[in-house]
Symmetry: C2
Subunit: 199 residues, 2 copies
DNA sequence: GGTAAAATACTCAAAAACAGGTATTGATTC
DNA sequence: GAATCAATACCTGTTTTTGAGTATTTTACC
C-alpha cells in the first residue's frame, strides 16, 4: 500500500483530503501535520512513499521542508500542492527534486491520477502555460522590473535598491517610472497593493 | 436533512470536503461550484439550507455572492470559509447577514460543530481577539489614523485624502507621520504592505 | 472639574518620489 | 542589417513624503 503524509496548515483541508484518499483504498495516510517543524519531525520517525506538501505554513514555507528532505537525502517523493502557480517557487522546487507541483484548483480525480504518476516515477509539473493560460499584467513587466517591484514592496527606497543591486539610483528610478507607466499607476502605494495580490 | 452548497474554486478541497460532510450523514451536498457566477446561478435553481462559501474566486470574491444573497433576500444561511481573518471583510460579511466566518485552519470536527450551531440559528464569528489572541499593532492606531491608512493604501495622496475628508493637507500629513512613528516604519510602501495583511 | 488622548493645523527643511526628457549598450528577432 | 526591447544612466524639474517641532480644540474618561 502506498503510504502518504499530508502536510497542510488548513486542518479542514488536510483532514478531508485524508478521508478522500483513504476512501479509494489506493493510499494510506500515515500522518497529518500542520507546521513545518512537525512535518520535519514526522518525516524522521515515519516512513511513507509520498509527502503531500502545502506551500504556506504559519512557521515557514513548504519549500523549506523540500530543502530539508533534499539535503537529508530522504527517499520520500514530494508532491507540492499549492494555491497558485508561483513560477520562481516551481523552479526552485524542481531543483530540489520535488516530483510534482500541483495547484489546488484541480479535481480529486486529477489529483489521484497525478499521484499515481508520481508513484510510478514520473514528474508532474503544471507549468502556467499548460494550466491557466490567462494573460496577466505581471507579464507586462520585464524580469528586472519584477525584481525591483519586489524590493519596493519590502519598503526599500530607490537608493537602497540601487545599492543592493549595484546600480545607479537613476536606473532604479527609471525602472520605477517605467513600471508605473506600464501598469497605469501613479504611486508606490498602488504598486505595493497590486504586488501583494499578483506578485 | 440539512442540504449544503459548497462554493470553492479549489476543486480538491471542495470535493473532499463534500465527501467528509456526507460521511457523517448529517448533511447532504446539493451542489458544488467553483466560480462566483456559477454559484449565483446554482443558488437560483437549487434549494439548500447552508452555503459554504470560500472568499477567493477567479472571477470575484465570496463577499460578492453574500451581497447578492442579501439583496435578493434568499433564505439560505451563509458560512464563509476563508484562509485568514481579514477584519474588514469580516465586518462587511456581518453587515450582509452572513451567519459564520470561519478560517480554514480549523479541524473537521470544529467545522461540523460550527455548522450545527449555524443551523440552529447561532452566529459564529471567529474574531481575531478570540482566535489568535496576539496583541496587534492595529490597536496602536486611533480610528482616524486607521481610516487614513485605508485611504493611503488605495493610492490616494495626502492632498486627495484631505479633500475627501474635508481636512487640511497639514492634518493628513501629521496623521501619516504619527502612523509611521507608531508602527516604526519609514515609508508608504511598508505601510501598505502591513495594511494589506492586518487592516 | 481636571486630565489625557485624539484630532486638528501650522512652519521649516530635507529626502524621496514622480514626470518628462535623452542616450548608450547588448540581445533578440525579423 | 534593421528594428525592437531590455537594461543601464543621466539631466531638469515638480510634487509628495518624511522629520522635527509647536499649538489649539475637542472628546473621553475618572
Amino acid at each position: 500500500m502506498n503510504t502518504i503524509i499530508i502536510a497542510d496548515d488548513h486542518k479542514i483541508f488536510a483532514e478531508s483530503l485524508a478521508g478522500m484518499l483513504e476512501e479509494n483504498n489506493l493510499f494510506k495516510v500515515a500522518g497529518i501535520t500542520h507546521t513545518v517543524a512537525s512535518t520535519i519531525e514526522t518525516l524522521q520517525t515515519t516512513k511513507a512513499s509520498i509527502l503531500l506538501l502545502d506551500y504556506h505554513f504559519p512557521d515557514g514555507k513548504g519549500i523549506d521542508v523540500a530543502e530539508f528532505v533534499h539535503k537529508a537525502g530522504l527517499p520520500i517523493k514530494i508532491v507540492i500542492l499549492s494555491m497558485e502557480n508561483d513560477l520562481p517557487t516551481m523552479r526552485q522546487a524542481e531543483q530540489l527534486g520535488v516530483r510534482a507541483y500541483l495547484i489546488k484548483n484541480l479535481s480529486s480525480a486529477e489529483l489521484l491520477e497525478a499521484m499515481q504518476q508520481v508513484f510510478s516515477g514520473e514528474k508532474v509539473f503544471m507549468w502556467p502555460e499548460q494550466s491557466a493560460g490567462q494573460a496577466t499584467e505581471v507579464q507586462l513587466l520585464s524580469p528586472r522590473e519584477q525584481e525591483i517591484v519586489q524590493l519596493v514592496r519590502q519598503g526599500l527606497t530607490s537608493q537602497e535598491i540601487a545599492a543592493q543591486l549595484f546600480l545607479s539610483n537613476y536606473t532604479v528610478e527609471t525602472h520605477r517610472r517605467n513600471i508605473l507607466r506600464k501598469l497605469n499607476m501613479k504611486n508606490t502605494a498602488m504598486l505595493v497593493q497590486w504586488a501583494e495580490k499578483f506578485l
